[in-house]
Every structure is written in structure tokens, then in C-alpha cells.
């Protein structure tokens, strides 16, 4: 029973991190129909930037803000410089370009920072809470609560942005139909860039939240990224709510797998889940478009 509670709470925390990555993928995908395979690599890079700030004597929170700001900037730059030129070309081209970007960023991080694991500060304690003698595990620590709160806060802010602001309306219009939005006077290109910038910011947040557990090295976000991708696909790749629910489902399931079956196999279990979802419910659980070819 104690284990079960521990795994469930841990799963919720992990799941919200996958959800954050999934959310960033959904944001990029909705605007451009490009899946950013470099999202995890970008988050790894912004985490290094935060670590530099902290190591140079800045506070954790300064590093946090700098990481998020650089994520925002990196997302915009990536969209303008390497993704925009592939617009109108076959999907194969933009896929290869974002994979190239992933390995480029990982290589640059390896050159600048070396490839050894670095420990990374957490915002709050990672010691789990106890109710009497009943330990709730790391999933109940202040750090985990901060993770959950910040991901949910970002998701709510994003929902508010899309629903209640003129910019959000323009972004939705551009994603729905670029041509029509353009005819109505929306600067579609800018909306796309903004979408990628926000995706970069959310990815950077995910990096800050997960890196204290994984350590920081050039490949540190690889497995988080593929699980975030799975979360987004479970949710339909088109739906922000779907990404969050998908992330939570995946996180809890994987914590049961790693807890009860084998601690080294989360990605393999995630792959099995991904394949099953794509086979039996290819539209995902929460997609708004009626059909899609997967």
C-alpha cells in the first residue's frame, strides 16, 4: 500500500514533466505541423545556462528566470532560422532538420561543457513528506509540489492566453487555417514564431524541473523527450489538455512499471504504450480533428 501511494505520487510528478514537454511539442505542432525533435535538446541547453548563472553566484531563481527567457529566445530563433526555410517542403525535410538541430545542440553542449554528469540544484527539498509513520515518497516533497504547481500554472496561463486574449485568438486562427488567417490580416509568421517561443519556454521549464533528478549532461533530456513525445501522442498531438492528461497517465503507468517490474525499463515500457496507443486509438484520446493519418 505504501509503495503504491509512493509510486502514484511519483508518477504524477514525473507525468507533469512529460506533460510539459508534450505541451511544448503540441504548441510547435499546431502552428507549423512540424514536430520539434530538438525540444529536449533545447531544454538541456537552457538548463546549462541556468547552471552557469547559479555557479557564477546568482541565485537559483535568477538561473530559473534566465533559463526560461533563453528558452523563449531559443524557440523563436530556431523557428526563424532553421524551421521557416523548410516551410512548403516535404515533411521529411523538416523532420531531418529538427533531428539535425538536436544533435547539433547536443554536440555544442558537449564541446562547451564537456560530457560529464553535473549535479543540478533543485528549488526546494526533495525529501518526501510523512503522515505519521506512513512515508509518501519523493512524489510528496516540496520540490515535487513545486513541479506540479508550476506546470499546472503554465498550462492554465496558456489556456487563458489562447482563450481570452486577442493574440491567443490570432494564434488559434493561424493554427486552424494559415491562409484564411492571413487573409483576415493576421501576421501568421509572427504567430508561428510566438508559438515556438512559448514552446521553448515550456521546454526550458521542464528542463529546470527534471534535471535535479537526472543530472545534467548533453544527452540528459533524450529519454525525457521521448516520453514527453509519447504523452503528446497519447493526447492526440493536437490538444494541450490531451498532452497533460497523456503525461499524467504515462507518468503513473511508468512508475508502476519501474516500481514493480524493472527500474531500467521506463523508455521501453513507454515505447510499448506508444505503439499500443497508435495502433488502437491512432487519433489519441483528446484530438479535435476528426481524422488523421499516423
Amino acid at each position: 500500500m505504501q509503495e503504491f501511494v509512493e509510486f502514484t505520487l511519483g508518477g504524477i510528478t514525473d507525468g507533469l514533466i512529460y506533460a510539459a514537454i508534450g505541451l511544448s511539442l503540441v504548441l510547435g505542432w499546431r502552428g507549423t505541423r512540424v514536430l520539434n525533435f530538438a525540444q529536449g535538446g533545447m531544454a538541456m541547453f537552457t538548463s546549462y545556462i541556468a547552471l552557469i548563472v547559479v555557479d557564477a553566484g546568482g541565485s537559483y531563481w535568477l538561473g530559473f528566470v534566465v533559463a526560461l527567457a533563453s528558452g523563449l529566445l531559443l524557440g523563436a530563433v530556431v523557428e526563424r532560422v532553421v524551421v521557416r526555410p523548410t516551410a512548403g517542403k516535404p515533411p521529411f525535410n523538416n523532420l531531418i532538420v529538427t533531428i539535425g538541430l538536436l544533435i547539433l545542440i547536443e554536440g555544442v553542449a558537449g564541446i562547451i561543457y564537456g560530457s560529464k554528469n553535473r549535479s543540478f540544484p533543485a528549488a526546494y527539498s526533495i525529501v518526501g513528506a510523512k503522515v505519521g509513520n506512513f512515508a509518501l515518497g519523493p512524489g510528496s516533497s516540496p520540490s515535487a509540489i513545486f513541479t506540479a504547481a508550476s506546470v499546472l500554472a503554465v498550462a492554465l496561463l496558456l489556456a487563458a492566453l489562447f482563450r481570452f486574449t486577442p493574440v491567443g485568438l490570432r494564434m488559434r486562427a493561424s493554427a486552424f487555417s494559415g491562409t484564411v488567417a492571413q487573409l483576415m490580416g493576421v501576421r501568421v509568421g509572427r504567430m508561428t514564431t510566438l508559438g515556438w517561443a512559448l514552446a521553448g519556454l515550456i521546454g526550458a521549464l521542464a528542463g529546470m524541473l527534471v534535471t535535479p533528478q537526472t543530472f545534467l549532461y548533453p544527452n540528459s533530456m533524450d529519454s525525457i523527450f521521448v516520453l514527453g513525445f509519447t504523452a503528446a501522442v497519447i493526447g492526440g498531438l493536437d490538444s494541450p489538455v490531451g498532452a497533460i492528461v497523456g503525461g499524467l497517465l504515462l507518468g503513473v503507468l511508468l512508475n508502476y512499471v519501474t516500481g514493480y517490474v524493472g527500474s531500467n525499463l521506463p523508455e521501453l515500457a513507454g515505447l510499448a504504450i506508444l505503439v499500443l496507443v497508435l495502433m488502437f486509438r491512432p487519433t489519441g484520446l483528446f484530438t479535435s480533428t476528426a481524422t488523421r493519418q499516423v
Partner: protein
């Protein structure tokens, strides 16, 4: 006729390579073996991507399977080397069949993500069952040169022979497959799967078969690399390896077996050069990452600037009937036509010949048109 030509070229290539390997020092023999082994994986991947129209960014996983299969077979069953290599290819092919069944239903980014996940996930198997796979240390094994070559025969030269011969055999088989019914069927499925299904082809079966062939090539390649290094570790089969293979395919020219040879050569010979260059210019700490940056730049620049790759460039330089060069331009033209006027898609379908890359782009642009939110509204 085609078969005779391929076999003829293969015999000449084998003789030249064997003669060459005896002239090289042992480090160059080792590199020759590595080039040959890599070419096999790259050729398999280019068949999958360029001919059958599926993507895999996790082919390192099948090399992992082939490498570990060889190590386990040699250590525990003590089979002869040729049997071990073949069996490793078969094991990887079975794994490819499993992945292929899932892949047959997936397109573009979904398939890319699933295969990426395979590459990230599989090395963990070595840690989960340390007793069998040796964990982080991996497995060490030994192979010896056959007795009839004499005791003084170098192991590196023997490795070079084995790898070159394997590469030649695999390339001949692939080249023939591409010229045969199955190759034509793959192209048909790639260019327009609906039309292929209407013409009576079993699309899913063809896709799975391409995955099996491609995974088996990767397995043989992984097996040969394990034999040249005499060990396998999970660290040798990283995501970077999978992306290297993709880089070689893209750089050589997607869908061209000759391009796969160029890609394989560059992939093995250039990175050590880059690393040495970085070391000698004071970058020693991160020098191992310099080639990684190179792969990233190559993937981005090739895709943005010259998507036909090296083989496309060679064809254009030589002014060869240039199915590639001409096809490239035509495909571009058609794509623009398609983009502006979806009704023009019929024109593309009328001209289904063309080259691998050209065909790929047609297929891809049709896929793009299909993936769009609305058929007519695709900008």
C-alpha cells in the same frame, strides 16, 4: 543482364578490396573493415527511407541487437563466424519485423518518434539483465583467423576481408532487390500507397518486409562492428550512432546505394580527422563532440541547400542522363504545381518513373497535401 552486371561489378570490387587490404597497415585495415560494416547499415537504411518511404531514426537499435547476438553466439554457442553473422542478421530481422508491424501503420513524425524511442530505450536492456548482457562493461569475446591462412595472418586483415565480402554480398542482393518486383512495389507504395493498394499490392506487408530487410542489414553491420572491436558495450550504440547513420544516408543521397557507400566512407574517415583537428587546436576537452556537431550541421545544411546529397551532385557534375538532377528539378516543379494547384496532382501521378529522391519528394509532397487540415486549403 542486370544481375550479371551487378555480379561483375561485385567480383571486381572484391578483388580490388582484397588486394588493397594486404597493402594497408593494420590501422587502415581496421578502418576499411569499419567502412565496409558501416556501408551495410547505411545501405539498409537508405532502402528503408528512400525506396520504401518509411523513416527510422533508431537504426542503431538493430545494430545493438546484431552486435549482442554475435557476442552471445560466439561466446556461448561457439558457432563459426559466418554462421554467427548470418544468425545476428536474422535476429535483428525478427526484431525489425516486430517494429515493422507497428511501423506499417505509422507515418512521418509518429514513426520517427517511435524509432527514436527504440534507440533511446534499448541500451537499458543491457543494464536490466546484467548477467546476460554484462551491464556497462558489455561483453568481450574472441575470434581467430582460420587455420588455412597461416599463423602469421593478421586478424585485422581477416576482419577487413570478412567485412568487405559481406558488404559486397549485401549490396549485390539489395541492388537486385531494388531492380526486381519487390523494389518496384516498394517504390509504388512510397509514391502513392492508395494507388498501390488499388493496384493489388499488399501495402502493409511490403512496408514490414522493407523494415525486415533494413533491420537485418543493420544487424549484420552491428555484428561485423562487434567482430572488428571484439567487444560490445551499450555505450557503443547511442542515439548519436542512429543519427550518424541517418546523416550518412542524407549526405550520400537518400535512396541511392552508391550514395550509401559515399556516406559510409565519410562517416568512418572524417570524424577522427575532425577530432584530431580539434585536439590540435586546443579543444581537447570537448573534442569528442566535434563530429557530433558536424552531423547536425550536415543534416541541416544538406536538407536546406542540396537535398539530393553527394550522389545527386555527382550525377549532375557528370551530366549523366541525370535522372536525379532532372528528376529533382521536375519534382520541385511538380511540387510547386501541386502546392499551387492540388488538381495538378494528376500530372505527378502520370510520371511515376523518376529517381529515388525525386520520387520521395513527390510522395512526401503528396503526403503533405494529405496531412493538411483541408485538402484544398494547403498553402
Amino acid at each position: 543482364m542486370t544481375l550479371a552486371r551487378h555480379v561483375g561489378i561485385a567480383i571486381i570490387a572484391t578483388v580490388v578490396l582484397l588486394a588493397l587490404s594486404s597493402k594497408l597497415d593494420s590501422f587502415r585495415q581496421y578502418q576499411l573493415a569499419q567502412v565496409a560494416a558501416t556501408v551495410i547499415a547505411v545501405a539498409g537504411l537508405t532502402v528503408l527511407i528512400g525506396i520504401s518511404g518509411q523513416i527510422s531514426i533508431g537504426h542503431g537499435a538493430f545494430m545493438f541487437i546484431g552486435g549482442y547476438a554475435t557476442a552471445l553466439i560466439v561466446m556461448h554457442l561457439k558457432w563459426p563466424l559466418a554462421a554467427a553473422i548470418l544468425a545476428s542478421g536474422l535476429v535483428a530481422g525478427v526484431a525489425g519485423a516486430i517494429m515493422g508491424v507497428a511501423a506499417a501503420r505509422l507515418r512521418g513524425p509518429y514513426l520517427a518518434g517511435a524509432t527514436l524511442m527504440l534507440a533511446v530505450a534499448l541500451p537499458a536492456v543491457a543494464f536490466q539483465w546484467q548477467g546476460v548482457f554484462g551491464g556497462d562493461q558489455g561483453l568481450d569475446f574472441t575470434v581467430s583467423t582460420p587455420g588455412f591462412l597461416g599463423a602469421s595472418f593478421q586478424l585485422t586483415e581477416w576482419d577487413a576481408w570478412v567485412c568487405c565480402l559481406s558488404a559486397v554480398i549485401v549490396l549485390v542482393l539489395l541492388a537486385n532487390a531494388l531492380r526486381s518486383r519487390v523494389g518496384r512495389n516498394w517504390r509504388a507504395v512510397r509514391d502513392n500507397d492508395t494507388a498501390a493498394a488499388l493496384a493489388g499490392l499488399n501495402v502493409a506487408k511490403l512496408r514490414v518486409r522493407a523494415f525486415i530487410v533494413s533491420a537485418a542489414c543493420a544487424g549484420i553491420s552491428g555484428s561485423l562492428l562487434a567482430v572488428t572491436m571484439l567487444n560490445v558495450t551499450p555505450g557503443a550504440f547511442t542515439l548519436a550512432l542512429s543519427i550518424q547513420l541517418l546523416t550518412a544516408v542524407v549526405l550520400g543521397g537518400v535512396g541511392s546505394l552508391a550514395g550509401a557507400i559515399w556516406g559510409g566512407i565519410i562517416l568512418v574517415l572524417v570524424p577522427p580527422f575532425l577530432t584530431n583537428f580539434a585536439n590540435s587546436h586546443g579543444f581537447s576537452a570537448g573534442s569528442a563532440s566535434v563530429p557530433i556537431v558536424g552531423y547536425g550541421l550536415v543534416l541541416i545544411v544538406v536538407m536546406l541547400v542540396f537535398p539530393a546529397g553527394i550522389q545527386g551532385g555527382i550525377r549532375r557534375l557528370l551530366g549523366l542522363a541525370g535522372p536525379t538532377a532532372a528528376g529533382q528539378v521536375n519534382a520541385l516543379g511538380r511540387r510547386w504545381q501541386l502546392a499551387r494547384n492540388p488538381a495538378g496532382r494528376g500530372a505527378a501521378a502520370e510520371n511515376p518513373g523518376g529517381r529515388a529522391e525525386a520520387g520521395y519528394q513527390i510522395a512526401a509532397s503528396e503526403a503533405a497535401a494529405n496531412d493538411g487540415v483541408t485538402e484544398e486549403g494547403t498553402p
